[in-house]
Amino acid sequence: MNEPAVTSSQPLLKVRDVSKTFILGKSVIRQMLGRSPDSLRAVHHVDLDIYPGECLGLVGESGCGKTTLGRCILRLYEPDAGQVFFDGQEILNMSTAEMNNMRRKMQIVFQDPYSSLNPRIKIGEMLKEACLVHGIVKQSEVKQQVEDLLTMVGLSADISERFPHELSGGQRQRVGLARALAVNPSFIVADEPISALDVSIQAQVINLLVDLQEKLHLTMLFITHDLRLVRYVSHRVAVMYLGSIVELAPVDDLFSNPLHPYSRALLAAAPLMNPRRRSRVAAIKGEPPNPINIPSGKCPFLARCELARDRCSVEEPQLVEVEPGHFVSCFAVKG
């Protein structure tokens, strides 16, 4: 099992009942025709605790709302409802100034290292700006700080004179990480940080992330669709489906004993790296439903579930602790 560096009973980050719905198609023509706009339910009543020093993996398929949830936590999207507590402070009511101050402690590494760096700014300038904007270091020390940051992510100091287009994907992702670390944060959202990289480069970046997370006691929300990766990096895992967290458990419990029918299907669908163990039947039929205009008040997984019963279509299951630390939202699973 992956061991968290620090254990504490108090979560660093508390997410309570956070929801986010995007309104689509608010066009003038639609309004003239008297049609109501479509709504896309991205995050639906999510509760989540992340403890200091832990890496929480958030897995799910595209469109399940995992990126939106990550961004809601950082207020890069404003949630429609709910509360987010960071270090005991509610951040959703904070003023812009207060929030900017808070952002020092909460950073993000983006998925695409090609579009997340400004192509017109040299790497050194970019990192300098990140250090200075929060007044963490003095002007006179900033050069040294930038060098230290680059060393920390395994890049040489001469990188600071280069532009993003001169770097490879792996190098860019290291710069993205250095920029996030520049302000000395305690919490990082890593949103699919390696999926844009070549296979042989991915391990370099994963190991760097994991090492730094342990060394700097970072608390991390690691968003990915890759189950093999999530098992490798996380201490606990949350499985998301159609905006809801359907299962949350320590990583070994989830992989050895997945309880929610969707988690089971997801694990069974990940291709095993063993040619002697091949499965012949598809793990699950059907596709994730379109998240536009879904009715609430029933289980989000209902349409694809083999265990579905009457109750599932009239009531929404809640996350319930069925074993210590193992939460599932399914009426068919008994604790």
């Binding site: 792996g170 991915q202 890759d226 189950l227 098992r231 990583v251 299907a265 095993l272 598809a282």
Partner: protein, 326 residues
């Protein structure tokens, strides 16, 4: 078992400003009747261009410089262009990675399947439509009679990829070239597509060349595997042999560098240092030598050919014997 496809010393080069990119460089392999061959490699390793070369559809400025491609023992490199019309689609067909750009957005899905059938066979429009419906049912598209009349944008990613497979299978080809057909899809949908292709392949006795960078997909689907790097095949063998007795540092490096489904404590990832070489004006010698932990001086002397390790196992590492023969 015969070989339906034989590729010998294929060289597909791109002449660009500043030099030559050897996208496919002296590649040889065979595809057996009813066999699934995996082409594994990272982006830029030449796996897609190998597939396109097999169809003689290399986009300019690329060009097949030399080599032989035998389909049912006939060298298609000598065929005139009009001869290839039946070969492409009816004998050997291809499924592309991106189902959104590969389908025509302004025609219904049904029309695109029917068009393929009518192109290759003399059947009536009505019969072709019926075949299209059967094909859509075969690849698991629900309500095919209705969906036949819909446009690509009305299909999800997974359903579009099924349409692509239906088009590729429309004329019962003997070889299916699948160029990362599941890379853009979610894992549960990827799983469905892999099972589907496997079932169809066995039912129709078709041969498949499956291009991927995912070793898990290789383990689940392929009979034999060619590992490509910088335009060359570095290792070629049976799938079980590849996972249990690989004879190339690159293959071994790849396996150690991707999470196998274990926790960190059980097995720590060992990254491959450095990055893939610049393909422009690549120097002679083993293309992997600069990232290889076993490099010796001999590795840069000349291009290293695939050498027989054992029956059906070939490796392009000059040190494979001393390193792993015990």
């Amino acid at each position: 078992m015969g070989d339906i496809l034989r590729v010998e010393n294929l060289r597909t080069y791109f002449k660009v400003r500043g030099g030559v990119v050897k996208a496919v460089d002296d590649v040889s392999f065979t595809v057996g009747d009813g066999e699934v061959l995996g082409l594994v490699g990272e982006s830029g390793s030449g796996k897609s261009m190998t597939c396109r070369s097999i169809l003689r559809l290399v986009p300019p400025p690329g060009e097949i410089l030399s080599g032989r491609i035998y389909y049912q023992d006939q060298d298609i490199m000598t065929w005139p262009e009009n001869h290839l019309v039946d070969y492409r689609g009816a004998q050997v067909s291809m499924v592309l990675q991106e189902p959104m750009t590969a389908l025509n957005a302004v025609h219904t899905v049904g029309k695109q399947i029917v068009e393929t059938i009518l192109q290759h066979e003399s059947v009536s429009q009505k019969d072709a439509e019926q075949r299209a419906i059967d094909l859509m049912r075969l690849v698991g598209i629900p309500a095919p009679e209705r969906r036949l009349k819909e446009y690509p944008h009305q299909f999800s990613g997974g359903m579009r990829q099924r349409v692509m497979i239906a088009i590729a299978l429309a004329c019962r080809p003997k070889v299916l070239l699948a160029d990362e057909p599941t890379t853009a899809l979610d894992v549960t949908i990827q799983d469905q597509i892999i099972r589907l292709v496997k079932d169809l392949q066995e039912e129709m006795g078709m041969s498949v060349v499956w291009v991927t960078h995912d070793l898990g997909v290789v383990a689940q689907l392929c009979d034999r595997v060619a590992v490509m790097y910088a335009g060359r095949i570095l290792e070629l063998c049976d799938v079980i042999e590849l996972f249990e007795n690989s004879r190339h540092p690159y293959t071994r490096g790849l396996m150690e560098s991707v999470p196998s489904g274990n926790t960190r404590a059980a097995s720590k990832l060992i990254p491959i240092p450095g990055q893939p070489p610049d393909l422009l004006n690549l120097e002679e010698g083993c293309p992997f030598r600069e990232r290889c932990r076993y490099t010796v001086e001999r590795c840069q002397e000349k291009d290293i050919p695939l050498v027989k390790v054992s029956d059906k196992h070939y490796s392009a590492c000059i040190r494979q014997k001393e390193l792993w023969e015990s």
